[in-house]
């Protein structure tokens, strides 16, 4: 366990079950806006943070000794979005680091052999193909050919942008090209390990981390750019310090300043990805970049209190209906803001939001797609 038993129990004993963690700040709008996707979807106390903590307590105290269906669902049908933690922290200033605790809980379960078949299969796919989707063909992009080994900037693409939403990787590579930034992509990029770490399969992630660290060292890059906040968070929080700068695409674009973009004449809402916002505190840069190219309208739940898209924490693969419902709730919120598109800065968010938006007349983009479109080539 990363956390000591006493530390975990102490955190559990600090939750007073007020359940304010399940709603966004009420007084600014006086609207009842839920924050916890799993609690809202499943309803039982077990799916809200206070109930999940009680389950953890009973496991640590040896009272829960069987992997029941309810146990697995309560533990794994949570996107680890961290909205509960942010709300609790805002009010009480008590540091009950809920996503970290729930990740730890998964680690405890995995050590007992109590995990979901779906997650085990992902681990197997990664072992076989080094990507989370089990894709055997190496994905090649037109712009990948311009990758220059030895340049300072390395773009870590990530599994989802490679194999499920390649338009994000394509856009990022085109942006580099249009801005005249020399870049390289890893010749043998392996999954960062995020999905394994988030689902408690910590040991399986180690080999991936070792490989990627070696590859990055070998590349000589000084800056690693990510379009995937999940990968960025994993490199930031779980990898050892590699003495390279780790930045999100929107941070890089903000830093570049005047990019000579043309406005697209679109009204859009920005969806904060959990890993980028709550985990890494990056709220301003995506908005700043997006404002350069489109009119950005606010949704009711934003920043620390953004509603999760529903795909993280291994939920998309194991609880498809729940994941899609969460994304659908976000699409409704965007519609309420009167926009034509919802824009995120995460391939995983885009993928799930796009599925939910299919018949809703709402377009879904990543920030880099719009920037690429607005950059003069």
């Amino acid at each position: 366990m990363k956390l000591e038993r006493e530390e975990i129990l102490s955190a559990i004993y600090h939750c007073v079950k007020c359940k304010l963690c399940s709603i966004s700040s009420f007084h600014p709008t006086e609207e009842w806006l839920p924050l916890c996707p799993s609690g809202r979807f499943y309803g039982y106390q077990a799916f809200y943070a206070p109930g999940r903590l009680e389950i953890f307590r009973e496991i640590l105290e040896g009272e829960l000794s069987e992997p029941t269906e309810g146990l697995l669902n309560a533990v794994y049908a949570c996107t680890l979005c961290g909205a509960c933690y942010e709300k609790c922290k805002q009010i009480t200033s008590v540091e009950i680091r809920l996503p970290e605790l729930f990740e730890e809980l998964r680690g405890v379960l995995v050590n007992k052999g109590w995990f979901l078949d779906t997650h085990r299969k992902i681990a197997e796919k990664i072992k076989e193909t080094r990507n989370a989707y089990g894709e055997k063909d190496k994905y090649k992009y037109e712009y990948e050919a311009k990758s220059l080994y030895g340049t300072d900037v390395l773009y870590y693409i990530g599994c989802t942008a490679r194999y499920r939403v390649p338009e994000i990787a394509d856009s990022m590579l085109q942006i580099f090209d249009k801005l005249g930034i020399k870049y390289q992509v890893m010749e043998d990029e392996w999954c960062c390990g995020s999905v394994l770490l988030r689902t408690g399969q910590v040991e399986d992630a180690k080999v991936l981390m070792e490989h990627n660290i070696e590859e990055i060292k070998r590349s000589g890059a000084k800056t690693v750019v990510f379009t995937c906040p999940g990968c960025l968070k994993t490199f930031e929080k779980d990898y050892p310090d590699m003495a390279v700068e780790l930045v999100h695409s929107t941070q890089l674009l903000t830093r570049l300043g005047n990019m000579k973009v043309k406005r697209l004449g679109m009204e859009v809402a920005y969806h904060d990805p959990c890993h980028l916002g709550r985990d890494l505190g990056i709220y301003e840069e995506p908005r700043a970049v997006l404002k350069e190219v489109a009119d950005v309208k606010a949704m009711k739940r934003e920043r620390e209190q953004a509603w999760c898209c529903g795909s993280g924490g291994g939920v998309k693969s194991a609880y498809g209906e729940f994941a899609l419902w969460s994304a659908g709730e976000r699409i409704k919120e965007a519609k309420g803001a009167g926009v034509e598109a919802i824009v995120s800065a995460c391939p995983f968010c885009k993928r799930n939001l796009r599925e939910a938006a299919e018949n809703e007349g709402m377009k879904v983009y990543d920030v880099v797609e719009l920037v690429n479109r607005s950059l003069e080539g």
Partner: protein, 470 residues
């Protein structure tokens, strides 16, 4: 346990809404009162969608003699929804979350148990109306808080009784309607036929039946508002001022708090020089329609001068937070949970004349059992129309919830303090929570016997939250 029980319940409420899964049940095993009520899992959790389903489940449980614990949102209940007996059914009513009616003309709302204060205000504010708010998180159930008779000191002007009538399902499946609800489709009057049955069933912690809908009073929201914070060095120095305000019915919200606990919540931040303020601060809100508001405010200013209290100049943000927390439900004030991680209080009603002695007793008993002085806190709220100089008093202790030894001190404190408060004289307890009933019942004579017989008539098989009262 009857193996077919869950099959029957599944047929009643749907398979996804009833479970005996050990982990799901574990999530209901404790609330914030764990130092006094140890964890225990229910055997089943059942989530009915409507009163017909409640009725079916209750009748089956009654037949099988299985204990039933009604549960709405499970917040601020002080151990009252933690099972006493093995094999209990926890009846989670959170799916029943419809606001059945908001009647602006009658100034009432009718709600199901899963409706929270936040949900209700979201709708009533359209009519410039609000519910009476308890000083509990706005995630608590309106119905249960009113039925259990919470405390509504955030706006003292609302008085104490907000329940007009309700509908309750008894274990035998019969449905009782109280007040005018029993006579007509108009549930807007508390006293229907004969005795005040609305009151008779109230404040029972799920020990009579399951209340499935309740009609409550709503109160007006005013445009004119003004906030004052007045400092006093001790409790007794503030009582004359409080008396004047209450006697002349001038302030909507009057809360006397100490400067190291609730004041932080009322102001909405930990980041201020609270330690430099007088030890007690009276937080006050004046409101009213044009003309009346100005007249009230003029008198308030005169009483402030006369009080010799120190007028505290707080930032506007503090005033706004106090307004929001008083008239829009407690959210930021729950930051007191963050003072040390948990919060214990003995809440009760008593006259203003004894306020200073209650505080002295609090300090003395706390020190006696080894609770440090800086853990000892206090607040007092007078309640309109102030007959009997009625106040809600809270003897608070903020502590680290993970400190199990401190839990032992708190239990000692309770045991001694319940008796001492009864000896000194109180009007009544906030709620029949753990440890209070036994010392109290010993003092109420034959009333206790009548009470027990009354419950026996309603619930002969003793299935309703068995063990929480007697």
């Amino acid at each position: 346990m009857n193996q077919n029980f869950l099959k029957f319940v599944h047929a009643m409420v749907g398979e996804e809404n009833a479970t005996d899964d050990r982990a799901i049940c574990a999530s209901y095993s404790r609330d914030q009162h764990w130092h006094f009520v140890p964890a225990r899992n229910p055997a089943y959790v059942v989530r009915p969608a409507n009163k017909e389903e409640v009725k079916k489940v209750l009748m089956l449980a009654n037949e099988e003699k299985i204990p039933v614990i009604p549960y709405s949102t499970g917040i601020n209940v002080r151990g009252l929804t933690i099972p006493v007996h093995e094999g209990s059914i926890l009846l989670d009513l959170s799916r029943m979350n419809r606001i059945l009616e908001i009647n602006p003309a009658m100034k009432t709302a009718t709600v199901e148990p899963g409706v929270t204060f936040g949900m209700l205000l979201e709708k009533t504010k359209e009519y410039k109306l609000r519910p009476a708010f308890p000083d509990a998180p706005l995630t608590v159930s309106v119905l249960v808080n009113y039925y259990l008779r919470g405390i509504y000191q955030t706006a003292a002007a609302d008085g104490h009784d907000h329940t007009l009538s309700y509908e309750m399902v008894l274990p035998n499946g019969e449905i009782i309607k109280t007040g005018s609800r029993s006579l007509s489709e108009m549930p807007y009057f508390r006293y229907g036929v004969g005795p005040d049955f609305t009151g008779v069933f109230c404040a029972h912690p799920g020990t009579c039946g399951v209340v499935t809908e309740l009609t409550a009073k709503l109160y007006r929201l005013y445009d004119n508002k003004k906030v004052y914070f007045i400092g006093f060095d001790d409790v007794s120095a503030s009582t004359k001022f409080i008396y004047n305000l209450m006697h002349d019915e001038l302030a909507a919200s009057i809360r006397l708090v100490d400067n190291q606990s609730w004041l932080k919540g009322i102001c909405g931040t930990f980041d201020y020089r609270y330690e430099e303020l007088p030890k007690f601060v009276l937080c006050m809100l004046v409101e009213g329609v044009d003309g009346i508001f100005e007249a009230k405010d003029k008198l308030v200013v005169e009483y402030i001068k006369e009080s010799r209290g120190k007028v505290l100049e707080f930032p506007e943000e503090f005033k706004r937070t106090f307004e929001e927390e008083s008239l829009g439900g407690a959210e930021k004030s729950c930051m007191v949970f963050g003072l040390r991680g948990n919060y214990h209080c003995i809440g009760f009603y008593g006259p203003l004349t004894l306020a200073a002695r209650y505080y002295e007793l609090h300090e003395a008993t706390a020190l006696e059992v080894g609770i440090p002085e800086d853990h000892v806190h206090f607040y007092l709220d007078p309640i309109y129309n102030f007959h009997g100089q009625l106040c809600y008093v809270e003897l608070d202790i903020f502590y680290d919830g993970s400190d199990l030894e401190f839990g032992e001190k708190l239990r000692n404190y309770n045991e001694i303090q319940f008796q001492r408060l009864l000896d000194l004289g109180i009007y009544g307890w906030f709620r029949p929570y753990a440890g209070i009933i036994q010392p109290t019942v010993e003092r109420i004579g034959y009333l206790a016997e009548v009470w027990k017989k009354f419950l026996k008539v309603l619930d002969p098989n003793e299935i309703m939250n068995r063990g929480k009262l007697f």
